[in-house]
Subunit: 620 residues, 2 copies
């Protein structure tokens, strides 16, 4: 649909498009590459924002709730992508849509209401400037329907903060890459959906069988059970013990106050309720009610692992109440918590090194450990006020403007701030940060990098031996590549990485995923075909970046990762730069990309039925 | 085992070897590459002959009976491989073995008796020189067991005919590449097996479920049903109609007497009984009783499609009785019918062009159409007498000796005679002939080349659109590559390409294959992992050839295929040489092989967990 002209065109893509691209990342990459002109301004009207479910979204099975947003990212200038759980995806599907593509700039604030196969443009002037909760409340009131689901932005998106996010129902964040700013640039405050179309499956019995199995068995998985009890913060203590929980802006890997911010502590103190996604019994979402002075609105949910580490250890701050407050503010304003915490930690290190001074900060003492400063900066960033206006640009742009060697404190890849996993203890993740088409991202293939032995999932994919997590030799590159394709498949199909745990009993497996796709669609697809679809999506995303001018020099990691971790359980650990460079080139070649240029070869593109992409990036 | 020292070493490979190589081609390639020194004489004691079943051989499901023999081929000098059905594989497994590797040259003729986990060396002096049937009868008598199964050679193998074959129970041929001559060079007349170990499955119920399904449904498949009625010769008429049934040594593509040699005619005239393989209800094997003067012993089975065309249309001879007799002789002597028919057709064309004369043939008029000449030549070849001694070398060597431009009548790739499918009407098959590691071979990926639309199987592998059978563009190369991996997987697992029909109902599918492997082994493998294992096997075989000195100039087709078919329904059809060359290079690159040298890259080998192979072929 075009937001400027308020016109809607409803497409019914050929089945082969669904078979080749599946949904989510795949479908998003397909349309983005196809429809975007090269080198457009991500915040200009030529950018498009794509919300995409998949061919199995809406089937009532745990872990299949996720929806993707794809656009050219204003943070990285690259392929931008984020996924979120909740209920929005299933509801969009029930409203009669698999995906939507919004283009153009609306002249006035607008929100979309999609229901019964129709799209309405609704005036959003009254809700522009509102928090996500205020906006959702008002939208539901206007539509007179409390069950409307929303994907909306807050003022951070309106103010074009480059890492503004989009939120499903206030707390399920399409966090990374600033896709909220893309919506903001379009004056698209929210997409509201309401559906009554039951998901159709070709084999409902098979769906029911898997759903029942999962309901009966999920508690057998220690990982899933732990997530149910403690949320994603259940890994705080183990990451701390491993010494790869980023602390003081990646100076260290263990945090003295880890226990104070752990999932266990949360459960024992401020946890008020749990919540979950569509059809999922795991309920890993937290809701919290910390006492004053950090009283928060529990509707915004509690902090997740990434959020806790970004505002806690990374900023050397150990108050779970303050972290919860930071989380609430980010959700209300629509800010990505990872980038927000990172940019604040960056500012703190700059300040403590005299690179930022009180003159820059209007007198705020931007020191590690200060909860007050963190909350103040979040507010300034969302409003783009004072130092917040600079920090709203992300660590890469901010450090470029600040100069003075501040870039060594700017921990990012392709401009996207690193997630809260230090690759110096699981080096495959570093490769993932570097080659992720959307910039440093922990959901490319994180888990599988941490195991020395092969995981059950990796065995299903044919990996019969594991590799030390600190080894980035050819064996590890292979494991990373296979894991990357598998995780990417989940991003194409809207699958949750927690329900598809790589180890143990009581989890959904790649086999189940194939069965779900077949049951939902009536196809006879296979894990081979699905993995190839994931590879296809990854190649289209890569080709998008190639067309934008990205080169191997963008597939980098910040210098700090090649230096030793300075304190904590993994003190002294570092990545080897030469080994990393070798691994990167080997990865290119394994992917069928040119070893020198990193460009997908004509042969690889044809092998993936991507001749149409080849024409655009390899035609001489 | 070493035949010279009569020593036996029993290996218990690690499970990861089974997971990575599965069996058949995979396991054979693994051991051959690992254990053979480069550039050894295929007929010398350093060559090894490997008989390999797979991790699912012996499960009582239709179509899973096949066993592989792998050795360096005396016909091609390359990786040599042949598969055969019947009962031998299941029996070998029941005898307690997955595979055997025979090395060295025995001083005196020997046969092996494998049973109950033990190997006995038995004196074969008395059976040396016998036909396969006489030998089997004598072995069963000696062992006092009529249920012993044999894989044996005839006098062609003893006489080192370069395309001598090995036969299971007289009629299931490991036909191609002269592996019978390798056995002959070792003075190994036969391997006899007898077992009572029931195949163990981790999930016998799943096995039973698939077996029952197949028993109940196989007749729903038109392809399988037709094979049941008419044997593999059921395709004679359709190949003739397509105009790609090689006639007069590939001069033409249709045969005026096609109907006289069709499967339908066989069923209506000389068919006496049908037979089949272990656990298979399809019973596509024929037994025939033609009247005088071609009375044959039906225990040798009736002629298959390849045999009929090789002695019929290819030699322009239309007498089904004579073809049956030729088939009987080949099975009794242990000759590959495809190469034998081809070498005779080659001689005929040389003779008719005055390149061979009565002086060369001791007065035999080697003209197209003469049944008497064909039978006479078979005899001479097997005994290496007269002109037969020259023809026993295969068309490549024979044409090199004859000279005088005879090479244009020598239709082979890598020295292996083309099979009875003319690629000028299904060009993907031509690519298969050229890149097959064991030389021109129709069981690399034949079927799927003939369909313009995507087959059901190809859809399972993610191919959503088909390509005209005469188009060798990038889309076809992709389809060929995927089909090649799938067919190769069947060769790793001992699966029959007829039961896994690419189209329609009532057939086993890739999904069933995954389920069988998992049920038999207790693994949780996937089609991704299995296809990768097939890719691994293909790369090891390629690496073997690279180590032997093969280059892209060996991945060729005979000139005749780039010239027009001269008569028949596809008159005028030809392959385009430039397009073929482009397709070949594209195929290399799609496979992860160097575009220029055709050598598997370091990256591809590591991606397939083949670092150990990389060390041998890419170490600089």
């Amino acid at each position: 649909m075009n937001l400027e002209t308020r016109s809607v065109k409803i497409e019914n893509p050929d089945e082969s498009i669904y078979r080749n691209y599946l949904g989510g990342r795949g479908l998003g990459a397909y349309y983005l590459f196809r429809e975007l002109a090269p080198k457009i301004d991500p915040l200009g009207p030529e950018n498009k924002i794509i919300l995409a479910t998949s061919v199995i979204t809406g089937i009532p099975i745990a872990g299949m709730s996720r929806c993707s947003i794809v656009a050219k990212s204003p943070l990285t200038g690259s392929f931008g992508e984020a996924e979120a759980g909740g209920f929005f995806g299933a509801e969009l599907k029930a409203a009669g849509f698999d995906a939507l593509i919004a283009e153009g700039h609306s002249k006035t604030p607008v929100y979309l209401f999609m229901h019964g196969g129709e799209v309405e443009f609704k005036d959003a002037s009254a809700i522009w400037g509102m928090t996500t909760k205020e906006a959702q409340t008002e939208i539901r009131k206007q539509l007179n329907d409390r069950l409307v689901r929303t994907a909306s932005i807050g003022i951070a998106g309106e103010n074009l903060v480059r890492y503004a996010c989009v939120l499903n129902d206030l707390k399920f964040a399409y966090g990374r890459g600033g896709l909220g700013a893309v919506m903001g640039s379009k004056r698209l405050k929210a997409v509201a959906v309401r559906g009554d179309k039951k998901p159709e499956s070709k084999d409902p019995e098979a769906i029911q069988r898997i759903a029942k199995w999962m309901a009966a068995h999920w508690k057998e998985s220690p990982g899933t059970l732990s997530r149910n009890k403690y949320g994603t913060a259940d890994t705080i203590m183990s990451m701390d013990r491993l010494g790869i929980m980023p602390t003081r802006n990646f100076q260290g890997g263990s945090f003295v106050n880890a226990e104070k911010v752990s999932g266990e502590t949360m459960a024992a103190t401020i946890l008020s309720r749990t919540d979950g996604c569509y059809a999922c019994p795991v309920r890993c979402k937290r809701e919290v009610s910390p006492p004053d002075p950090y009283k928060t609105d529990q509707d915004y949910g509690g902090p997740e692992y990434e959020t806790i580490v970004a505002f806690g250890p990374l900023c050397d701050m150990g108050d779970l109440g303050a972290i919860s407050k930071a989380n609430e503010l980010c959700d209300a304003y629509g800010l990505d918590t990872i980038s927000t915490g990172s940019v604040i930690a960056f500012a703190m290190e700059c300040y403590e090194n005299g690179i930022l001074t009180n003159r820059d900060t209007d007198g705020i003492e931007v020191r590690f450990g200060s909860a007050g400063t963190i909350l103040q900066l979040i507010d300034l960033i969302a409003h783009r006020r004072g130092i917040g206006n600079l920090l709203a640009e992300g660590v890469k742009r901010a450090s470029e403007r600040i100069g003075n060697g501040s870039s060594r404190f700017a921990l990012h890849s392709k401009g996207k701030e690193l997630a809260m996993h230090d690759p110096r203890g699981k080096v495959g993740l570093g490769l993932g940060y570097a080659v992720s088409p959307s910039g440093a991202d922990h959901v490319q293939a994180a888990h599988d990098q941490a195991f020395a032995g092969p995981t059950r999932f990796m065995e299903m994919l044919g990996v019969t031996a594991g590799v030390d997590p600190r080894n980035l030799g050819p064996e590890k590159v292979r494991i990373f590549l296979y894991a990357h394709l598998w995780w990417g498949l989940l991003d194409c199909l809207g699958g949750c990485k927690f329900v598809f745990q790589p180890h143990g009993a009581g989890v959904l497996t790649p086999h189940d995923l194939v069965e779900m796709v077949n049951a939902a669609t009536g196809w006879e697809t296979s894990l081979w075909s699905l993995m190839k679809a994931s590879e296809r999506a990854l190649n289209v995303a890569r080709a998008f970046n190639v067309r934008e001018g990205f080169t191997p020099s963008d597939d980098t990691l910040p210098e700090r990762l090649f230096e030793e971790i300075q304190f904590g359980r993994s003190k002294g650990a570092k990545m080897d730069k030469e080994q990393f460079q070798r691994a990167l080139r080997l990865y290119y070649e394994m992917m069928g990309w040119d070893r020198g240029t990193g460009v997908p070869t004509t042969a690889k593109l044809h092998e993936l039925d991507l001749g149409w992409v080849d024409q655009q990036i390899n035609a001489s």
